[in-house]
Symmetry: D2
Subunit: 435 residues, 4 copies
Amino acid sequence: MTTTLPKPTGQMPDTAIYERRESVVRSYARSMPRQFNKAENIWMRDNQGGRYLDFLSGCSTLNYGHNHPVLKQALLDYIAADGIAHGLDLHTDAKADFLDALESVILKPRGLDYRAMFTGPTGTNAVEAAIKLARKVTGREMVIAFTNGFHGMTLGALACTGNAAKRGGAGVPLSHVAHEPYDGYHGPEVDTAELLERRLSDPSSGLDAPAAILVETVQGEGGLNAASPEWLRRIAAIARRHSALMIVDDIQAGCGRTGSFFSFEGMGFTPDIVTMAKSLSGMGLPFALTLFRPELDQWEPGEHNGTFRGNNHAFVTAAAALRHFWSDGRFQQDIARRGAMIERRLEAMAAEHGLTTRGRGMMRGIDVGSGEVAATVTAACFDRGLIIETSGAHDEIVKVLAPLIIDDAHLSAGLDIMETCIREALAVPYGVAAE
Amino acid sequence: MTTTLPKPTGQMPDTAIYERRESVVRSYARSMPRQFNKAENIWMRDNQGGRYLDFLSGCSTLNYGHNHPVLKQALLDYIAADGIAHGLDLHTDAKADFLDALESVILKPRGLDYRAMFTGPTGTNAVEAAIKLARKVTGREMVIAFTNGFHGMTLGALACTGNAAKRGGAGVPLSHVAHEPYDGYHGPEVDTAELLERRLSDPSSGLDAPAAILVETVQGEGGLNAASPEWLRRIAAIARRHSALMIVDDIQAGCGRTGSFFSFEGMGFTPDIVTMAKSLSGMGLPFALTLFRPELDQWEPGEHNGTFRGNNHAFVTAAAALRHFWSDGRFQQDIARRGAMIERRLEAMAAEHGLTTRGRGMMRGIDVGSGEVAATVTAACFDRGLIIETSGAHDEIVKVLAPLIIDDAHLSAGLDIMETCIREALAVPYGVAAE
Amino acid sequence: MTTTLPKPTGQMPDTAIYERRESVVRSYARSMPRQFNKAENIWMRDNQGGRYLDFLSGCSTLNYGHNHPVLKQALLDYIAADGIAHGLDLHTDAKADFLDALESVILKPRGLDYRAMFTGPTGTNAVEAAIKLARKVTGREMVIAFTNGFHGMTLGALACTGNAAKRGGAGVPLSHVAHEPYDGYHGPEVDTAELLERRLSDPSSGLDAPAAILVETVQGEGGLNAASPEWLRRIAAIARRHSALMIVDDIQAGCGRTGSFFSFEGMGFTPDIVTMAKSLSGMGLPFALTLFRPELDQWEPGEHNGTFRGNNHAFVTAAAALRHFWSDGRFQQDIARRGAMIERRLEAMAAEHGLTTRGRGMMRGIDVGSGEVAATVTAACFDRGLIIETSGAHDEIVKVLAPLIIDDAHLSAGLDIMETCIREALAVPYGVAAE
Amino acid sequence: MTTTLPKPTGQMPDTAIYERRESVVRSYARSMPRQFNKAENIWMRDNQGGRYLDFLSGCSTLNYGHNHPVLKQALLDYIAADGIAHGLDLHTDAKADFLDALESVILKPRGLDYRAMFTGPTGTNAVEAAIKLARKVTGREMVIAFTNGFHGMTLGALACTGNAAKRGGAGVPLSHVAHEPYDGYHGPEVDTAELLERRLSDPSSGLDAPAAILVETVQGEGGLNAASPEWLRRIAAIARRHSALMIVDDIQAGCGRTGSFFSFEGMGFTPDIVTMAKSLSGMGLPFALTLFRPELDQWEPGEHNGTFRGNNHAFVTAAAALRHFWSDGRFQQDIARRGAMIERRLEAMAAEHGLTTRGRGMMRGIDVGSGEVAATVTAACFDRGLIIETSGAHDEIVKVLAPLIIDDAHLSAGLDIMETCIREALAVPYGVAAE
């Protein structure tokens, strides 16, 4: 290992203002007790001089790293020139330019014909719009989502989310959604697509005809479970056969995270609706998008709206990101190489300890057996200057969401830290180590 | 009238890219068929040289005008210095500074003790968090909202919204919310607070015990109906008596729009929960906040979350806006003077045509009798360079949401245009004019 | 008073078997701690020789008294001849005969054209069928019910019921129903039909377009509130105007209780759907019926069914009852005379104590001010051999539901007891009397 | 075969009165176009002299045949002596006697300690009470039911029912229930109890913690699927492990139909709640019962009620039935012998045609491959004097629900007819035969 990480200073900030004025609902600040102030590329910095390698990337929101110079300059120029910041859903140069980039850089080369709906700039809002549209177009109410799926926290999207603690926060029963087992959920012996087909084909199964089947190709929050292309193709076929729409929630897995711009590319099916957010703006600005086949564009004007649906700053950075990273195949080749490196390294760690890995592309993790062990690992990583987090039903997966633009040396250095911390955490049985 | 507005060029933009790629759900772009590119202060500009006086202010999102130089410079400096753009809910300098401004400039001087929860940066998300919290804290499921209320478009907030067309978009029945008549809804003879009290006190009324009463002090989308302080005090008392939480949705009416920072100031009651968004960031950046009494802060970490809940750019501009505009009473005095001018002018227009006015502060409108007339008025205003929109169940209210920072001369000029256009629209009976 | 009631023996039965084996959900057995065994005409008898005048009539299920000889003989003959007891929904002689009686004795003379749907033999099932049909025919989901309405205990009907304690038993939120204020609910000054019309005509009221308006003409459980014919006509007109179906729940008020066979006769409107149960079988046998206009008969075969929907014993007694009591106008005249006597007597009691009366026909009561007083009154009545119960949101109404066939002397005797017991209960302030 | 059935006269009744006055929702009358009038033992008679062997038994409501002399005489005596017919939930001799019979004849010998709740006299009402109680006791809202389950038609029970056509009749979405695969639903390879356990143990499966698991041991309407004792034991264990209540809906399978009084006897588990109806009264009178462990008896008085919850005629016949049939083991032995005969004969028919059989005890059927074939078979049987019906998601099962008291000769004769009709129906390919 030639690249070493600087030791962060490791000092707790003065948290009095948070204690007094910020809700206890905050979560990441608990496991990363620093006050950050600056960030660039793969690094985050705290206000006492500490520097951290970011293997979290804002939960896949910062695929291009922090404050990427191209995006940053585009935004600075735009603001300096009094570009429109907030424009409701009015036509603006920035929106037109984004739509042009989406069309020319993303849709056309992939042979995709989608219309873009700018929703309120949160992923959950893009999901709400998607299921509203599916219900409207089909005249049906039920949506099929999957075990361990995560789709957001507003009531419509939360009903599609599997996590019991999040669901419990609703305070009302969550209705009109059925959760079916995801690919591999019941082990390799049970074909869960077949289970679903069986129930949908049976007029006495109690499963109402669905408006949509909502699926992540890799479950970001639910444990980095990656569905096989074959299974996804079958889900797409099941949706079509039962006149339901297939919605791919590509909020976390999209924008290159799994290797291609959309996570479902090259799999032999085309979703009816796709939701995007997180890394779409490229620079971490709030932005969300629901894409759908033109025939489905049956909205009344303003039927779904939102004050911030036209975040023009995000149009600017998003268009710049699409053009900079996706105009040719080089970025995708880089992701492939780095993803392979991550896979190789994680497999080695897994083999060493008898563990298993999960995921696809640069969206991968390792199941360390329990949330306690995983928390030990991530805390130890943080102490060594690596920001990394967990995933899964029991937070038992240590997940690597490094910026896609990371250089190989730092990727390797980060993985080294992770390897060391896993080794230490598993050196003694957890119960003993805890004493 | 000494101030005249320049004639906008009035050319339709090339809309092919929108036709091809943007969903038909867009709405404002239909009545304002231009492509805008720049904006500063009270002006929006289209890309063909047209300039428009903005009496819409992003639906009250741009209370301080477009690209206010203080906010703009703060943001430029922050970005240039690689300030963190996206930080999940990590502690950051920008967040700490915003919390400090909120505490010292807003809360303390008003004797308010609230905690801030940063939700996904949309108003609807702030409302979803508010009603989740109310349901969690009270263990009840039902929320009381009001006729003509507007609270957002995700399923939880949409259930609280009165508008039938928006509700219909849900595609599923909207549950767990009862809509009760707002102040004055049944005319001056019927005391709607008394109606509500009667039903809540009656164990056989069919109205389940509520978790919360959710109210706007002025109904922004619902027709600029302004509740009286007396009525709001009684609603607060009813909520307390029935162990429900009172939530003031201050998303549109807050941030000075009605004359004070919070729309309920000086009314003799303190809401348990307040939702804020729109003008909170000051520059139109997506930002939302749910404030509540510290005793209610019973969230589990991450029980409600969202990728963009820490929009650090918005922290920067919001803190700058609070300090610049609210550190002393001058801005509030300006709003009072301008609000009085708007009131005087609208009353005169109303008197001329036998119409009625609505609203409070700088959140006012005039009921021109029908959506058709109102559309005629706003279209004619637009032709003369004034951006203005409608509100109300039938879009029958022409609403004045001028930037709060507008100078008196341009405010007067805009009102002149409005006066002229109303006079023309009402000159001939609508049915005849249409021929 | 010339008719005196025999003193009941007043001995508690051995309740060990109930304590061991019957659920504590039982209620009437608590206030009438006897074990009954026989009953005829207006009398119930306990197994220790006590005899009780029945002013409860099985909550209006025994309008023709207990074991009326005509009905009893018809049933004995039928059973003795091996008449079919249970026939699902097969054609049977008994069903044909009942339909013939319904048509010739009830419908034709009243100019009504209804089809009969035999539902599971409970009132709640008839209501469930009615609202299912309304939802199916209109394609809408929301039903409007009224404050203090009572419609049953299964989830669909319970959602229409106003009583909070009953609703709480659901264990899930009750949805798809809005409760609006009944006639007079907000006092004589507030026109509740106007309130409803206002909200239904307003596309922004939050009240979704209803499938049906479900109403009792007199609220049996909700306090014997009697709607005025004018109000009911307006509700019928409102339903028609908004393309909703008007359902009259005549389960308690029908079968002569208010003076005519249907409680809405002669009021100038015809409900789209009518639900019946309670006294329909005439002898207390389980039986329920949903009547509707032929155009509404859009059911698929078996779309709503139930094992006991063809209770042939009840067909027999019901047909006998219709023919015996309703073939001419004499019975109706008797009810009118007795109803007037009850009204006169209750008004006198009310005047004596400054109380108010409620109801219509032989469905009347007196508001004694509190559930405690009412319970004192009914307990004292029971001690004197009079079975009588309470109604209302607070059980504050002492209600007279004497058998419709009661002779004037015993009716008078029962009212005498009631008068005495009210006088005693109100003689000393309640708090003092309780010591 | 020495017993032959008389040829029924086969004449259509005059159906004008039904056309005019009965809803088209009727179903059985369509496939059995006769007007019946009398019935005794295993026979039904039409009003034109036709006689039919009853292999439907009111869908298992007439397990002891029609008008059984012991029950009939008990009822005649009771009515003749002016026994109370309708008593709300008052203590009556008849109720006490029924409770005594239930305790001494059924519960004690089986070592069961249940309390009885008399619900409205329909099966659906017993189910509504059961799930209400489970929700109340556990404080949870979700109920797990199974594919192909049938539990009733009121909204709460209908939500638990699997059949899409029945569900569609609701007109509103059916909520708070998840349908899981029944034993064998996904073929012999897939262990559906394991699937359920997996999802309930996973905090991220999207399946909320259930109040109850509601199961039929044999699915009467859903295709006579019989769960294995092992599977049911595991479901019971799963319910216990997850603090949910296990409810056995024994409405169709109970009262001896599967061989023992309760269908779950001898299986090594005790349900928390049991629902009963259908054959409980013994003579086809409406009667329903919810049994539960005494610790669960947490109802408030009257929290679930219903006008006809004390059907005293049914108490009389039910007590007589329990004492007559269940005081010793002889009846059970008869059922075992007859059930074995049915099994043997159905297996032979299945073997002849390459079909499969279903069911247990005297609740058995044969899958003839399609609803069309099954309808051909039952119609042919009816022409030969045998009343028999279908079951299953596609009505593809011809089901034998002969009275439990049938003598062996007539049982054999009925099965002969069935055998012949199946043979004929399958002799030529269906499409050809139809020409």
